[in-house]
Amino acid sequence: MAEYNARKVVSDILANRYFTNHGPLARALEQTLEEHMGARHAVLVGSLELGLLVALIALRTRQHSRLVYYPGDEDPCLVHVGAFSGLSVHALDTTDSVVQDTDVLYRTLREERGLNCASVGQGQQQLVVHYPDWSSARPEQGISDGFPEPVLLELPTRHGGAVLLFNSDELAERARNVRSSYGVRKQVPVFVTCNGRYSEAQAGTVLDYLANSLGWS
């Protein structure tokens, strides 16, 4: 379990006197993740599941109707994410292929594979969920230019939430606008908002873990 100093997190929040969302701790964490993960934009979200919903709405086109995955990537949360977002959820078998206009491909990367190991699916609309081994996470595991985006990473600490990594300015801003009004840099129209807000306490626990357990500054 990723450990952090809860007393310090509380003290930091009170010292900042910033209690709502996307305050100094969340901004510092987004900047840290951008630098260490090699992405232009890190968009924090309250949980992994909310990250999936935010990403699906940010990626949404009128043609999208299916959320598809390969059998090895099955996850029990997908049927719920599909129900919330209005997409039907399908497992692909060996004879199926991803339909470019209608499908969003859900993929997972487990801890033993760095992000740059994923090379399939160029040109397809993809949502990649990465579960890094935080105890050995290194800055060089950042996303490369050609990597499908967004990548959704579950953050360490139990309620540390998740982060969406983007290189596209446009997609990142859409995700911020779907998340909530806090942290928005420019208002852009989105299909629906979802309140994926991220708290200062969540940011504080992750920052404390990254600094003290991984030595990230």
């Binding site: 809860a6 007393r7 309250g46 949360c77 139990r158 309620h159 908002t193 979802c194 807000r197 306490a201």
Partner: protein
């Protein structure tokens, strides 16, 4: 002026540091993260007592508490009846609940969802009523409950701004329908972020707990759309518990600010302060004023000028939801004249823990000065 340089409409109550840390220490002594939810359970128990409710289920946000409550309550029909004059994201809540919002009008005297409008809107397409307490006082819970029972339609109450209130002497949170509250820092109890549902039905409370659970076995067995990991962090619960301990001090401060507005606004441009019903228990938190004889455009100009000076006043629930464009389907078959009049005339003024009586004097002086430039206003 507040130390941040801004005067906002958020409550931003700051519980005593040592009190928060005492809760954190209790949690750590009881296992900390190896016993997640220990402080959350304590908070739920305290909130049950506070609201006189049988069950309280804490969740990650008020927004997702509303979505969960609607998902678990609604009938197999397409529409959810909601007021248009309300929180700007409420139609989005209905979208995530898998339903279509059907907007209805308010009662002009209370600014709350109109029971008559609700009754006119009910039909075979109605899946639920999402009643909302306005930010000052309550909606007509008795009449709405009667209507919901008469037509056998479930009702959920959005009570995010009504944590401390009573309706006809009965605590909000004890009405035996799902009542949803927020612990966002802008609300009366500052849990940084979070929400909770009070309910008396133990089976329903169990379904809410399943909905929020991180347990993937729940995700596998529950109906699609009846699960989304949305439990509350214990640090948020520590803030909320400390805030709950200090709620009387919080309300005392808000009452002082409300009284200051009452004094300062007397005779200013005919401005009407929306009054709290002091026959009931109330939080005195939100300050809403009506500026008569001023167009919506002039009202918006006043807001812009106040904002430029660091006074983060807001046009109250403007534009209303039925006027906004939505990418997903919404319904508004009837005109909503009371909503449209209210949306042109009302302002939220700064309130909460960081506002002082001197700030109120400053804000009212600014409004008076701005009104003197408005032809047709009582001061212009």
């Amino acid at each position: 002026m507040s130390s941040t340089g801004f005067l906002s409409t958020s409550n931003l109550y700051e519980p005593e540091k040592e009190r928060i840390l005492r809760y954190i220490d209790q949690w750590l002594e009881n296992g900390g993260e190896s016993r997640p939810g220990w402080l959350v359970s304590l908070l739920e128990k305290r909130l049950c007592e506070y609201h006189q409710a049988e069950h309280c289920v804490a969740m990650s946000t008020g927004f997702w508490s509303l979505v969960a409550s609607l998902r678990l309550s609604a009938l197999d029909a397409p529409e959810v009846i909601i007021p248009s004059f309300t929180y700007r994201r409420l139609a989005d809540v209905v979208f995530w609940a898998g339903k279509v919002p059907r907007f209805v009008d308010i009662d002009e005297s209370t600014l709350a969802i109109s029971p008559e409008s609700v009754e006119r809107a009910i039909g075979s397409n109605t899946a639920a009523i999402l009643a909302v307490h306005p930010i000052v006082n309550c909606c007509d819970v008795s009449r709405l409950t009667e209507i919901a029972a008469k037509y056998a339609v479930p009702m959920v109450i959005d009570a995010v701004e009504s944590v401390h209130e009573t309706w006809q002497g009965k605590r909000v949170g004890s009405f035996d329908v799902p009542e949803v509250f927020s612990l966002h820092a802008s609300k009366l109890i500052n849990g940084l972020e979070g929400g909770y549902v009070c309910v008396n039905d133990s089976a329903y409370a169990g379904r809410l707990r399943d909905f929020r659970s991180r347990d993937s076995s729940n995700a596998r067995r529950l109906k699609p759309g009846h699960w989304l990991a949305s439990d509350m962090p214990d640090i948020h619960a520590a803030f909320a518990l400390a805030g709950l301990d200090e709620i009387e001090e919080n309300v005392r401060h808000n009452r002082k600010i409300y009284r200051a507005y009452q004094r300062e606004l007397k005779g200013v441009g005919g401005i009407r302060l929306v009054a709290f019903d002091e026959a009931q228990q109330t939080s005195f938190k939100n300050i809403v004023v009506e500026v008569p004889g001023v167009s919506g455009e002039e009202r918006d100009r006043i807001v812009r000028n106040l904002n430029q000076a660091g006074v983060l006043a807001r046009a109250h629930y403007s534009p209303p939801l039925h006027i906004k464009s939505h990418e997903y389907p919404v319904l508004c078959p009837e005109p909503l004249p009371a909503t449209e009049r209210a949306a042109r005339a009302l302002l939220n003024l700064p309130c909460g823990f960081r506002v002082s009586e001197a700030d109120v004097t400053h804000v009212v002086a600014m409004i008076k000065s701005l009104l003197s430039d408005v032809p047709g206003s009582c001061d212009g």
